[in-house]
Symmetry: C2
Subunit: 137 residues, 2 copies
Amino acid sequence: MKNYTNALRAHNLKATPQRLAIINILDLNGHVSLENLYTQMLSKFHSISLATIYKNINLMLESSFIQEVKIPQGKSVYELTKSKHSHLVCESCFSIEDITIDLEEIQKSTSSKTQFQIDSATVVFSGLCEHCKKKSF
Amino acid sequence: MKNYTNALRAHNLKATPQRLAIINILDLNGHVSLENLYTQMLSKFHSISLATIYKNINLMLESSFIQEVKIPQGKSVYELTKSKHSHLVCESCFSIEDITIDLEEIQKSTSSKTQFQIDSATVVFSGLCEHCKKKSF
DNA sequence: CTGACTGCAAACGTTTTGCACGGTA
DNA sequence: TACCGTGCAAAACGTTTGCAGTCAG
């Protein structure tokens, strides 16, 4: 289990047990909704406050330690900030996978077509994951 | 000004003045946040209720008459449902442009790489619009 | 004329805030 | 020890609901 103490300090955040637990949950689960995170935190800290969760999520968002992923037809989930990637959302089991895609060409042609300067791209593909695709027959 | 009465009826929604006004605002503005919509509605219906706005937005979302666009770093906006397209969001003036891009290739290669069945794609490019790009020098 | 829609007020769920206490560095 | 962080309670928001009156079809 990776130790995130120094990573937190590098973002000027104290390494409290609650924070380390939040990060570990994100690390293990990949993508977690707030209510899911709260539920998991409750099993580790029986008196954890929702306010603490919110405060930490917001602090870690501000310092870009984590990122919010807005799901088109669902609730936001949070993930540790990692290298640029896109998401696949299963509309049946609501699982989320990371995927790396090359948008270079599209961004270039879009930029030149519109004169818009593109700094970042958010891409979410929705459909059925491998498992649910099979089940749907 | 296009008349949306029949379009509403086709979705089993009565063509009330409030609804027609909402639709016209979306039509004229392209993309509108809830608070912006409420403000604009207030100037036409001095006693419009926020509840009415919400009820109508939700009904029109359910019938796919309109769609929600979740903006990565901002509030959701609503738009009339039109042919498939993506969005360019200016992080300086917060304007939103529609754009059509071809994702065929990327979807195909992503599908075969992951075994994920892709049914739809949500793409938002963020950056600077033509106007703000010039101002930023 | 009847069911659907509106506006109001209240309820609800989610997120934020203030404060006293406790823990990290 | 000095802040920063936590937990609690209350407040602030955003959204939904119930209801009585009104309107579109």
